[in-house]
């Protein structure tokens, strides 16, 4: 009923094309996360779905209805703006109450819903304040609250948690998920947080320069990125790429380092390839493995990120262990060959 389907949608600002034909199908009750580099058109796409931006080409359907010509207020969509867009002349409570008043809900019902949302968002002591009197994260939570008090057909979230601390973010994440379980509302969610994307999404859509690069379940994206761009984009730190070619059953990088290939690869000898291995799939070897020169060690507490030079390529490894090696020392690493990705000259992943 409230599926959203986007067909060949394009958008240009004057001469600048920012969306070049996007197709996405979102099922009723699905949780879709949009990711992509800054400026790739995520907010623009959300705004077009919401009806705030004229569609330069293509079609957007919500449920059965083509909504290209339906005005924003009739689409029954709640959106959290990246820039919050709070009503500065209303208190926090009034900001949240506004849409409810318009729906004609009575005061008791409104107050109950607002109290509930404020509770979830930790805004209860601030209900009487004006947006100006809030911190950045508090404002963002008000923007969030304004959306969740409603009961819309579709939720659009544009980086709704970007200004929250990690702890709060984890809480909010599970609140949003439980909201979605409860209401079964279709949600489209833009985020830059990998964990958010991976844990919340039913489907992640990876965009780049106004085009969809891949749309799939989180784990499929992680495990089988369609191309180098997606492979690099999903996962942080990014996947390491090493250029080289196949020599027999192993991969030899351009500067002569030999790396293991997954067992069941169908590649022809001599083929030019890009070898991709995620930082978390490098293990420390006990003397064996590939020698790598330590360039930078960054402990994050739980893990340690190490920048290494293998031949002339720089790769990053993330290890659970505390690395004590200093800059310039050589350590040995072992790539998990079952987790290696290979990309052809056209950047596409080899099946």
């Amino acid at each position: 009923m409230t599926s959203v389907s986007i067909n060949g949608v394009r958008k240009s600002y004057g001469p600048v094309d920012v969306i070049h034909g996007v197709d996405i199908d979102i099922e009723d009750g699905e949780f879709v996360v949009l990711v992509g580099p800054s400026g790739c058109g995520k907010s623009t796409l959300l705004r077009m779905i919401a009806g705030l931006e004229e569609i330069s080409g293509g079609q957007i359907r919500i449920g059965q209805r083509v909504v290209n010509d339906v005005s924003a207020k009739d689409r029954d969509i709640a959106m959290v703006f990246q820039s919050y867009a709070l009503y500065p002349h209303m208190t926090v409570a009034d900001n949240m109450a506004f849409s409810l008043k318009l729906k004609g809900l009575d005061k008791t019902e409104r107050d109950a819903r607002i109290a509930k949302a404020a509770e979830i968002l930790g805004l209860t002591p601030m209900l009487k304040r004006f947006p100006k009197q809030l911190s950045g994260g508090q404002r963002q939570r008000v923007a969030m609250g304004r959306a969740i008090v409603r009961n819309p057909q579709v939720f659009l979230f544009d980086e709704p948690l970007s200004n929250l601390d990690a702890k709060l973010r984890v809480e909010m994440r599970s609140e949003i998920k439980s909201l979605q379980h409860r209401l079964k509302t279709t949600m489209i969610y833009v985020t830059h947080d990998q964990i958010e994307a991976m844990t919340m999404a039913d489907k992640i859509v990876v965009m780049r320069d106004g085009k969809v690069e891949q749309a799939d379940t989180p784990l499929n994206l992680y495990d089988k990125p369609a191309n180098k761009f997606v492979a690099a984009f999903i996962g942080s730190p990014s996947m390491n790429f090493i250029e080289g070619s196949v020599r027999g059953s192993a991969f030899v990088s351009n500067d002569g380092v030999t790396l293991p290939l997954p067992s069941a690869t169908v590649v022809s000898d001599g083929q030019k390839l890009t070898y991709g291995i995620r930082p978390e799939h490098l293990a420390l070897g006990n003397g064996d493995g590939i020698p790598a020169v330590v360039q930078l060690v960054e402990p994050t507490g739980a893990e340690t990120m190490v920048q290494l030079r293998i031949g002339s390529s720089v790769v990053v490894g993330v290890f659970r262990d505390r690395i004590t090696a200093k800059e310039g020392e050589t350590i040995h690493i072992v790539p998990d060959s079952s987790r290696v990705h290979l990309f052809g000259a056209d950047d596409l992943r080899l099946a």
Partner: protein, 325 residues
């Protein structure tokens, strides 16, 4: 011809470029001096450095005459001897009362009509592509001098008895529907409203201009958020746009209330207060220049000044609340 032209150019260059540069340099010098002082002292003095010129100018052009007027309001017609509050006693008696009544009609009708129309115009113009044209047209009356305005409106309101061809536009229009012509400027009550309408015609442009620039400054995303919240155009206007431009509405309202209090030209030129349309400022003019009664005129002026105080206080509330949030 070249000589006066040179003078004109010189004046324009001196006034429009020279003085601003001097003002800038003066401010710069002031700031320079402040920066030599201890920070706190500088902060305390800074407002006065900035306000020096505006205050000096306002003091000379407005405050000084007002003080003189306060003095002469306690003196006789020729400002020769002190007579206490006699002028005020006179001002609150007899013929002045009917006049005050007219000002009250102005005070109620004029600001309300103007603000409502201006809000409507500013909002609607914002939605059409030919806004510049529309804006220019509502501003045109302001550009037409009053003298010419009187000619126009005499034409519009012109009245011929029923049965004869009407030259006046409004009466001719009424005639189309078989209605009797109305002596717009003569029939009591109607005539005050007719005069008020002229004032609205003249001032609407300015009110619309102010409100329009305020409306344009209301955040687009906030309005979009309201639309998504399900607000229709009316609701967006009343719940989002209006509260956000309230300071500007207050500015317009204040300006118009004050204009209603001191309305003069229109009444003077159109009826000179005949037919029961007299207003305070016209009386002031009469006392000052026709009757040469400086005392009476000053008393009227002082009363006008005091009548503006409530409006001033309302504005102060607004300033305060702005400062708080």
């Amino acid at each position: 011809m070249s000589d006066p032209l040179a003078i004109v150019l010189l004046l324009i260059v001196a006034g429009a470029i020279g003085i601003p540069i001097l003002v800038y340099l003066a401010l710069g010098a002031g700031e320079g001096m402040l920066s030599l002082m201890p920070v706190r002292a500088g902060q305390r003095l800074r407002p006065w450095v900035w306000l020096l010129l505006p205050i000096a100018l306002a003091a000379t052009i407005l405050i000084f005459p007002v003080i003189v007027t306060l003095g002469t309001s306690l003196m006789d017609a020729r400002a020769a001897s002190y007579i206490g509050f006699e002028n005020y006693a006179w001002a609150f008696s007899g013929s002045m009362l009917g006049i005050v009544q007219n000002n009250i009609i102005w005070l109620i009708a004029f600001p309300i009509i103007t603000v409502v129309l201006a809000l409507a115009a500013a909002t609607l113009f914002d939605k059409v592509k030919y806004e510049p044209l529309a804006m220019t047209i509502v501003l045109l009356p302001t550009a037409i001098s009053f003298t010419a305005g009187s000619v126009i409106w005499t034409q519009m309101y012109s009245f011929q008895p029923a049965g004869t061809p009407q030259i006046g536009t409004f009466n001719a229009f009424l005639g189309l529907f078989g209605m009797r012509p109305v002596p717009w400027l003569i029939q009591p009550v109607v005539n005050n409203l007719s005069l008020i309408f002229i004032a609205v015609w003249l001032q609407l442009g300015i009110a619309t201009l102010i409100l329009s620039s305020a409306i344009k400054n209301v955040g687009t995303e906030m309005i979009e958020a309201a639309r998504l919240d399900g607000a229709g155009e009316w609701r967006v206007f009343f719940s989002i746009v209006l509260p956000n431009i309230l300071p500007s509405v207050l500015v317009v309202l204040t300006t118009m209330i004050i204009a209603a209090l001191k309305v003069f030209d229109i009444v003077y030129v159109m009826t000179n207060g005949n037919f029961g349309t007299d207003v305070i400022a016209n009386r002031l003019y009469y006392e000052l220049f026709a009757a040469s009664n400086l005392g009476h005129a000053s008393a009227i002026a002082v009363i006008l000044l005091f009548s503006a105080l409530p409006i001033a206080f309302i504005n102060i509330f607004q300033f305060r609340s702005e400062a708080r949030s």
